[in-house]
Structures are given as C-alpha cells and as structure tokens.
C-alpha cells in the first residue's frame, strides 16, 4: 500500500483537515476561545488573590477543584480505555471512533492536569512534591497519595499523548503528502516533521503496529492505576464515607459513562460538523450507544455495591455518613443520569443522533454529580460536632469549570481542524480488507 495514491474514500477525511473553516467552525472556535479566555482570567485571579476566591471552607476544603479533577480523569480514562480496547481487539469500530476517542482522552487529561496544581494554596510551589535535591535538605513524603498522584498524572499525560501520537503518524504522512501535492510546502513541512519520515514501507507498518499495540496495552494498567491513585486520595483518609477499599473500583466503574457519554456526543458532532457520516456510520453509533448502556450497568452495579456495603455494614458511622450523602440530591441524580438514562439505548428506536447528544452529555454530567456527592456531601458531616457551613461554589469556580470545558472543546476543535479526525489508515486498512474479501469471492 502506498500513501502516494490514497483510495478516494479517505480524501474526505483529509479534506476536513485541509479545507478552510466554515462559519460553524469559526463559531465553535470563537465560543471555545472565549471560554479559554475566561479560564485564563479565572486562573489569573486564583493565582493573584488565592483560594479565597472559591467557596471552600472548613470542612469543605475541597470542592469544584477535586470534583473536576476526578471527573476529567474519569472522562480521559473511559475514553482512552475505550480506544485502547478497540485497538487491542482489532474491533471494527476502531476505524471510526478511536482517533477522536484518543483525542478526547488527551484533551481531558490536559484539562485534569490543570487542577492538581491550581487547587494548591500556594500553586507556585507545586514542585515541592517532586524529589529534587533542595537546599532545605528535605524530600517529599513518598507515603502520601498526593505524591503518587503527581506520578500518576504525569504518567497519564505521557502515555495518553503517546497513544494518540503513535496512532497519528501514518495519517500525518498522508496529510503531508496531500499538502505537498497542492504545493503548500510550509504546511507539508509542518505535517512532515511529526510524521517522522513515514513512507509506509512494510517495515514501517510492521513496527508501527507493534508500537501502537504496545502503547495501547500500556494504557490499560495505567488507566486502572490513574483512577486508583485518585480514589486512594480519598480512600486513605479517616473521613468515614471515604475510607473504603471499594473506592478505586467505584471510580473506574462510574467513570465509564462519563467518557463514553462524551465520546458519543462527540461522534454526533463529527458526523454532522465535519460531514463524516460514512466513516462514523449508523452501525458504529449503535455499537457505541449500547456500550454506553453497558457502562451504565457497570456504574449501577458500583452504586448498588456502594449502597449495599454502606447500609448493611456493622460500622454505624459509615452508614450514617452514607445516609448524609443520600439526603442530598447529587447521589440520586447521578444514579438516574449516568446509570438509568443510558439504559434507554437498549431500544433501537431511541438510538438516534438527536438523542445521543443529550443523553451522552447527561451521563457525563451525572458522573460529575457522583463526584460532588463524594467530595462535598461526603465531608459535610464530620465525626465530631462542628459548625459546618454548606459549600457554595463561587463564580470563580464556575468560571474555572466552564473554562476547563472550553479548553477541552478548544483542544478538540484544534485536533479536528488540523489533524484527521477519523483514522485514515485504519479506514483504508478496513477498505483493503474488504477488497481482499471480495477478490477471494
């Protein structure tokens, strides 16, 4: 197979990356860009004035910061878990969605990576969690889950970006060649540099497949570990509702609907926004929607396990702490939005683009509320009497949340604009497989 003569069917994909932006694209960029500016302002205010601009207090020392962190990690994990499984299982769906699932995962990891630093009381001293030879003669406390968290999030960023990049190399080469053929030498060089001299030789393909699958295999344990580290930040404390060995599993299971919900909504956006209906076809969407429904079942099981263990165990303190969470609306809404709502997708009639977007996004938002229930409602009743003031997020926190969502959208728009949104080489691979089958017949 030669990249010099691509099959005509992938041209549309590359076209999407090379053609000028339409008004919809400009609008998307404008909205997301405004959100990124809001994010910059919120971050600047946070650094200048301090955590005081948020609504935190004692005992609610964590709020939107840790909710968003845990949530974005969940989105990233579910999305890249999805992509990695597709690559490893050589599933037909990977053609369509794994590229943008990878992109979404990377964008979500970047959004999540904002928080471990920004949530600090003195963010500019974040590097004290690194082991480096300081003039104080002090080292980080390696037993602290927050130090593990640093390694966890670093490894996460590294592996997710590698996964995304390695898969992208052949397509970058295609874009390079197309641009070169049109005489846009500067653009061709820009694509050519990260394409690392890809020529599509058999040796290239062989190594690429090995590398790609190896990184995908690396993603699996990493995702488990990343979610586990986040969960351990809660589970190792003496907070009655958090101190549970089941928490890592809970984070992984309930994280799935968030990432799949976002991927589902993004797939609809791709189909219509970039006119890629043939590449992400109805079959793909059906499969994805049923996956989300299955993830909802996994999350429902996690919640049932949570309620079961909390309500049935002998330790009355844990039970009471969980009852405090049940008294708030967040837990119930989470179960409904992320667990029950996706079950609608078992009905074929409901698997329609118009329904995918709201339910996908609601499933993701439901997971956010589950994290709220844990981070906020979980500490609102300390073990000892205490004058607790309810946590009320401030405008700065909303700005940061919407800003990081805009950042996510902005990053995805950039991917969609400058890089192939659907894996061309996988598509072609699929096409050639079909041709082979036809020849055999």
């Amino acid at each position: 197979m030669s990249t010099d003569t691509p099959p005509p069917s992938t041209a549309r994909v590359a076209e999407a990356a090379l053609r000028p932006l339409g008004w919809g694209g400009w609008l998307g960029f404008a909205l997301a860009g405004t959100g990124v500016v809001v994010l910059a302002i919120a971050v600047a205010r946070l650094l200048w004035v301090g955590i005081g601009v948020w609504g935190n207090n004692i005992p609610h020392v964590w709020g939107f910061d840790l909710i968003a962190y845990a949530w974005w990690i969940g989105v990233a994990n579910a999305a890249s878990l999805f992509a990695a499984v597709l690559v490893l299982r050589r599933h037909g769906l990977r053609t369509a969605v794994n590229r943008f699932a990878e992109a979404a995962a990377l964008a979500a990891v970047l959004a999540a990576a904002l928080y471990p630093i920004l949530h600090l009381g003195r963010p500019w001293l974040f590097y004290w969690t690194l082991p480096y030879p300081s003039t104080w003669g002090l080292w980080p406390q390696f037993g602290s889950t927050l130090v593990w968290d640093f390694w966890g999030i670093s490894a996460h960023v590294l592996v997710t970006s590698m996964f995304w990049y390695v898969g992208l190399i052949p397509d970058l080469a295609t874009l390079r060649d197309r641009a070169a053929r049109r005489g846009r030498i500067g653009l061709a060089r820009a694509y050519g540099l990260p394409a690392l001299g890809w020529r599509g030789s058999v040796a290239h393909w062989h190594r690429h497949q090995a590398a790609y699958r190896m990184v995908a295999a690396l993603v699996l344990p990493l995702l488990l570990s990343a979610q586990t580290v986040v969960a351990l930040e809660f589970a190792v404390t003496v907070v009655a509702d958090w101190h549970q060995a089941r928490l890592p599993l809970h984070f992984i299971a309930t994280g799935l609907p968030s990432g799949l919900g976002i991927v589902l909504a993004l797939a609809v956006a791709l189909r219509h926004g970039l006119s890629l209906r043939e590449f992400v076809d109805r079959g793909d969407m059906d499969l994805l929607a049923r996956l989300l429904a299955a993830a909802g079942i996994a999350a429902l099981l996690a919640w049932m396990h949570e309620a079961g263990t909390a309500l049935l165990q002998e330790d009355g303190t844990t039970r009471d702490a969980f009852l405090v969470r049940l008294a708030g609306p967040a837990w119930w809404i989470a179960v409904v939005m992320s667990g029950l709502l996706p079950q609608l997708f078992w009905w074929q009639k409901l698997r329609r683009d118009l329904i995918f977007v709201p339910i996908g996004l609601l499933a993701a938002a439901g997971v956010w509320l589950d994290r709220w229930s844990l981070v906020v409602d979980g500490v609102s009743r300390p073990r000892v009497p205490f004058p607790v003031t309810a946590y009320a997020p401030s405008g700065d926190e909303w700005a940061l949340l919407l800003g990081s969502a805009s950042f996510f959208a902005f990053a995805l728009l950039c991917f969609g604009r400058f890089l192939p949104a659907v894996s061309m080489f996988e598509t072609r691979h699929e096409e050639s497989e079909q041709e082979l089958e036809e020849e055999e017949r």
Binding site: P133, S134, T135, W136, G137, L138, R176, A180, R181, I185, A188, R189, G192, L193, L196, G197
Partner: protein, 204 residues
C-alpha cells in the same frame, strides 16, 4: 515532486532531540549550582548601615571580644546590639566624629534603639537561640565568619536550612557537645533520629 526534506534532515532531527535533552540536563545542573552559590544567599554583599561601622577595626585591630558589645549572646536568644551609651562611652574620648555618631546620639536621646540593618536576619518562622549554640561549644565565627577581617560586615555562610542541618544532623562529628534536648537520642522505626533535626527545634 521535490523532496520536502534534505537527506540530512533525519540526522538533524535526532541531533536536535539529543541537544534538547542535554540542554534540559544543563538547566537542572545550573539550577542546582545557582541555588547553592554564595551570591544567591548574599554572601559577601555589604548592607547600607546608618554608621560605617568596621568589625575589622573593633574586633581585629583593637581586639575587642564579641561579647563586649553583643553581651546577650551567651545568655539569651538574641545576641543583642550594644546600647548607644556603650558606643558613646568610648567614642566621646576616641574618634568622636560627631556627624558619624548622630544616629547613635539620637537613639540615646530618644531612648529608642539604633536602626542597624541586619546582615544575618533569619526568616520570621525561624527560632534561633544564641546562648544554646554557644553552650554547645560553637564559636561566633562558625556562622558569622571572620568578622575581625571585615571592614564592612557581610555574610560568610548561606544560612540556608540545609546549611544548618549539616551541623544539626551530627554535631558531635564537628567536635560540638549538644546539651539538653540535643543530647537525647531517640528512635523511630528502629532508626536513631538526630534529635536536633526535628522541625520544632528551629521553627516557630
């Protein structure tokens, strides 16, 4: 179609990657050295003082004992600065350049202290006790250097936390005999911990 990249582009890319890695290592090494260099800690930089006082004259040429002026060093937390009366007690007879002693005279008249600029000021969160250090056998020069050679008093050591800890980890190896708290070894997890390295020893 003309090739986009020259045949040597690949080699150049590899070289660039290696150079970037080396630069990163170099930056870390430079940072390590900068954090420990004397100039970062203002070693040898004189400070603007109300009076051009010379330790070289008083402690060096005249051979005055440190305790003559800093009489509280052996007794209390702060070494103490000499009172205006003490300065003028001698300087009414020798080297009585009135203009130079105006700040001291003003301090004596108002009952306030002369506003010397501190050369060895430690941060607010540090608790330092002069007498405890002298009792352990340290000399003034251990921290303050050879002030008798300094026409303008300057810092001789970094006074960084690591520098303090160098001694606090094992004072005996420097010929010092810790007293009281520092003499009580204690064990945690089977390891003997130097007692003088506990946070509350030096931090408020």
């Amino acid at each position: 179609m003309a090739p986009l990249f020259t045949p040597r582009a690949d080699a150049r890319l590899r070289l660039a990657l290696v150079v970037a890695a080396l630069l990163a290592v170099l930056a870390l090494a430079l940072g390590y050295a900068w954090a420990r260099s004397g100039s970062t800690w203002a070693i040898g930089k004189p400070t603007e003082q109300p009076i051009p006082f010379s330790h070289a004259v008083h402690a060096g040429q005249l051979g005055l004992d440190c305790g003559f002026c800093h009489s509280n060093a052996a007794r209390g937390a702060s070494a103490g600065m000499p009172s205006g009366e003490l300065c003028l007690g001698c300087h009414q007879r020798v080297w009585n350049v009135t203009a130079q002693f105006a700040p001291v005279q003003a301090a004596v008249d108002t009952g306030m202290a002369t506003q010397w600029a501190s050369v060895h000021r430690l941060p607010d969160h540090v608790r330092f006790h002069h007498a405890a250090h002298l009792a352990a056998g340290m000399t003034c020069a251990t921290c303050h250097g050879a002030v008798e050679t300094m026409p303008r008093t300057v810092r001789a050591e970094t006074l960084s936390m690591g520098w303090c800890l160098d001694c606090h980890r094992d004072p005996r190896s420097r010929g010092l005999t810790p007293v009281g708290l520092g003499a009580q070894p204690y064990v945690h997890a089977g390891v003997e911990v130097p007692p003088l390295t506990r946070c509350t020893v030096c931090h408020k």
